[in-house]
């Protein structure tokens, strides 16, 4: 449109026309992005600014001294709540054996170093870069990736803490990581099949896959409660088949970490098929042919060609599940029970639940935001084109 406007104008010197076009472009850019930026400013940055102030005692919920004596909030600038949250430190267990106690900042530094290694590993060394990346990934996942088995989560290592909220945070990271990794593992074959296996009407298939999104999320969670209850569909079937005594239903199916992970998987798998599908669609088929021609097995072609090219989609899929899951509130509130209580619920309780301590709630929120922001920003580098391929 800008072009047409300048063409219709009377002849003017080239420099002036260029200037006018630039101004017009710039105006259009501002005009189009201002609403989004304003929204971001008003509903993201400003609230976060105040939440940060709450977390260090510069704001408090109580507006009077008398109210403050009820809420027990900090009267002014102080890092006390942050210290209370982080001071208990972190305990590491490997294969169920206590292996050490560390201050929280040490864990933070190690965590940041591992993320760094995973993201830019290949740039550090042409020879060992791949190994640095793989090693960092494994170490990052080790304490958090689990296999849900009944009431327990089978795991290699575990991070825990004497501090209630910090321990709850690690539990939420574990549940979010487990959900995200398993979601990717489940979604990948479907996306692969859609991208490579179906020739005709693949977008209709895609629509079928994401059809559950047409109903409300709450409704779907309630449906799970009906299926998974002690006298629910699943247990009733077991009773009918004589596999289980009605007095002894499979009870970990509802109100457990397992349930939360299951429902999160169910909720997110259809959603993350999309980014993986798109990444796989972008794989140039000729590369695969070339790989086969040069003697690569199908597995080798997958590992050396398909996966590196699809990596940004896979990482995006992981983050799509991980980020909302780590702060999840409604799913654990409905199906998590005591065993599946999550960090997001603790935050909600501080703001609008019985705990009523906006300052503590703010500390927890900002901590969560910081971790998620760090992950999102550091991996955004990885998400750029070809991020997965060795440099």
């Amino acid at each position: 449109m800008a072009q047409r406007a300048t063409m219709a104008a009377p002849p003017i010197p080239i420099e002036e026309r260029a200037w006018a076009r630039r101004a017009q472009d710039r105006f259009a850019t501002y005009a189009l992005t201002t609403p989004a930026l304003a929204l971001l400013l008003v509903f993201f940055l400003v609230p976060i600014y105040f939440v940060v102030r709450y977390s260090i005692g510069l704001e408090r919920f109580a507006q009077t001294e008398a109210a403050a004596s009820l809420t027990g909030e900090l009267p002014g600038y102080s890092l006390e709540l942050w210290r209370e949250f982080l001071d208990p430190g972190v305990d590491l267990e490997v294969l169920g054996i206590a292996s050490g106690h560390m201050p929280a900042w040490v864990v933070g530094v190690v965590f940041a170093a591992l993320v760094f290694g995973a993201v830019v590993g290949p740039r550090l060394s042409a020879r060992y870069g791949g190994w640095i990346r793989a090693g960092s990934f494994l170490l990052l996942l080790a304490p958090f990736l689990t296999i849900p088995a009944g009431n327990n989560l089978l795991r290699v290592a575990e991070l825990s803490s004497e501090g209630d909220f910090l321990r709850l945070f690690f539990r939420s990271v574990t549940m979010a990581t487990t959900s995200a990794v398993w979601a990717v593992i489940i979604a990948f074959p479907i996306a692969y099949f859609l991208a490579f296996g179906i020739k005709k009407s693949k977008y209709i298939w895609l629509l079928v896959v994401i059809a559950p999104f047409l109903t409300s999320y709450l409704l779907r969670i309630f449906a799970w409660k009906i299926i998974l209850g002690d006298q629910g569909l699943f247990n009733s079937a077991l009773f009918e088949l004589g596999l289980r005594n009605p007095d002894d239903p499979v009870s970990f199916l509802i109100y457990s970490q397992f349930t939360v992970i299951l429902v999160l998987l169910y909720a997110w798998v259809p959603f993350i098929i999309l980014p993986i599908f798109i990444a796989l669609e972008s794989v140039d088929r000729r590369l695969l042919e070339a790989a086969t021609d040069m003697g690569a097995s199908r597995l080798q072609a997958m590992r050396k060609v398909t996966l590196p090219i699809a990596a940004p989609g896979i990482v995006a899929a992981f983050l799509f599940v991980f980020i909302p899951s780590i702060g999840e509130y409604i799913t654990p509130a409905l199906v998590g029970g005591t065993n599946g209580y999550m960090f997001g619920q603790a935050i909600a309780s501080q703001f609008v639940g019985g705990a009523l301590n906006w300052q503590t709630g703010s500390v927890l929120s900002i901590f969560l935001l910081g971790v998620v922001l760090f992950l999102a920003l550091s991996t955004s580098r990885f998400l750029r084109a070809g991020g997965g391929a060795p440099a």
Partner: protein, 401 residues
């Protein structure tokens, strides 16, 4: 707890989110604020030194316009019996009632403190001092509440301020205790106790309310093993209660947020026993699925817990008189009887109510005709807690443990 000489400051987020009503609230605090601005409100007798002040509203001189109740869902237009006395009266058309819904006391407090300004709010009695301390409420003119005296003194008294004025008018009351299936939890009625929470035979089969304060009260009653006032716990008792409730966690399948979800879990067999309000018990005993099952509402030897909720008047309302008349309508014996018939809750109003209750069975089920049922040591009604934060932190720690 000096709630009288409170200073109001307007800052930060509250200011940002438009604390439109706050300036008018100062009067209710009667505080020594530094000229933050303040509109005149009725003489609230905010000073403790002076003789008890009175409050007087004149509904006739108030402007027309809707009166907004910040209410629990259910106590709205869908329950016309509650408001009839007002809606059919002189101001029913000129100042019609509007309803917004709150989910819990804290959320209501948070919203009102950050600028939302309804005319009347319906918090439970333990929370009115928070509203008051934040300068958000003003006292009622009891002359406009003809049935106020019909509320037993033990129930209405905690709603009276240190200045002798009425800030909270109780409306609904109810027990909170375990409802359990005697076929699964075989205990004799005289053995009933909160300590079933510690019995590993019921692992993963019990549930209780997610409110952190309730969690600590239950822990304290278990520890005492006899009736003690759970509203007056010391720091040591709170700490011990926390430890007990952490021990009880294997038995606690869920800390429920949602009343109906909890009732459904009990009816559907996910729970053998759970902390319930009277409506839950009634649903359970009358439900198809539990026909033939001996479902009991526990009367623990330590005493039941009990709640009282009711109305507070926003400090900035332009229609305090008409709002009070609407509150008065909800406090009539007729409305009180319907409250029991419809929701199975007890009514704070008890004068001549029993005869008006249609479902007479409810009277015996909930011991409505037995005054001792509503008094210590058989029931512990909630009260404002000066050390609530300690309770809350300990209760949160139980959930997070």
């Amino acid at each position: 707890m000096d709630l009288e000489h409170s200073r109001l400051t307007r800052r930060g987020f509250v200011a940002l989110t438009g604390a439109t009503s706050l300036s008018a609230l100062l009067a209710a605090c009667g505080g020594d604020d530094g000229g933050d601005g303040g509109a005149a409100a009725p003489e609230t007798g905010a000073s403790t030194d002076e003789a008890p002040a009175t409050v007087s509203f004149d509904p006739a001189s108030e402007p027309d316009g809707p009166i907004t109740f910040f209410e629990w869902a259910g106590y709205d237009k869908t329950s016309p019996w509650m408001w009839e006395g007002y809606t059919k009266g002189e101001y029913g058309q000129r100042s019609p009632l509007k309803f917004d819904f709150l989910e819990n006391d804290i959320q209501a407090l948070a919203k009102v403190a950050s600028g939302y300004s309804p005319d009347v709010i319906h918090p439970c009695i333990a929370y009115w001092p928070d509203f008051h301390a934040a300068g958000l409420v003003q006292p009622f003119d009891t002359a406009l509440l003809p049935d106020y005296e019909g509320i037993p003194e033990a129930i209405r008294e905690p709603g009276v301020g240190e200045d002798g004025l009425v800030y909270h008018v109780p409306f609904d009351i109810g027990f909170s205790a375990f409802v359990y299936r005697a076929d699964k939890i075989p205990i004799a009625p005289e053995e009933e106790s909160w300590n079933i929470l510690l019995d590993s035979a019921y692992e993963g089969k019990l549930a209780t309310f997610s409110d952190p304060i309730t969690i600590i009260k239950i822990g304290a009653l278990i520890n005492a093993g006899e009736p003690i006032d759970p509203n007056k716990l010391t720091s040591d008792q709170i700490e011990a209660a926390k430890e007990t409730m952490i021990q009880a966690k294997p038995q606690i399948r869920n800390f429920w947020d949602n009343n109906q979800g909890n009732i459904d879990d009990f009816i559907n067999g996910n729970l053998w026993g759970t902390y319930m309000w009277p409506d839950g018990y009634l649903q359970a005993i009358r439900h198809e699925k539990l026909k033939g099952v001996d479902v009991r509402y526990m009367w623990p030897k330590e005493g039941r817990l009990a709640w009282v909720c009711g109305f507070v008047l926003h400090a900035a309302t332009e229609q305090p008189g008409r709002s009070t008349l609407a509150v008065a309508a909800a406090n009539t014996p007729n409305a009180a009887a319907s409250l029991t018939d419809v929701f199975a809750y007890g009514a704070a109003q008890q004068e001549g109510v029993l005869e008006l209750i249609k479902d007479k069975e409810l009277i015996s089920i909930f011991s409505l005709d037995d005054p001792s049922a509503f008094e210590p040591p058989r029931a512990w009604f909630e009260q404002p807690l000066p050390n609530r934060q300690e309770y809350a932190e300990a209760g949160e720690a139980v959930k997070a443990a």
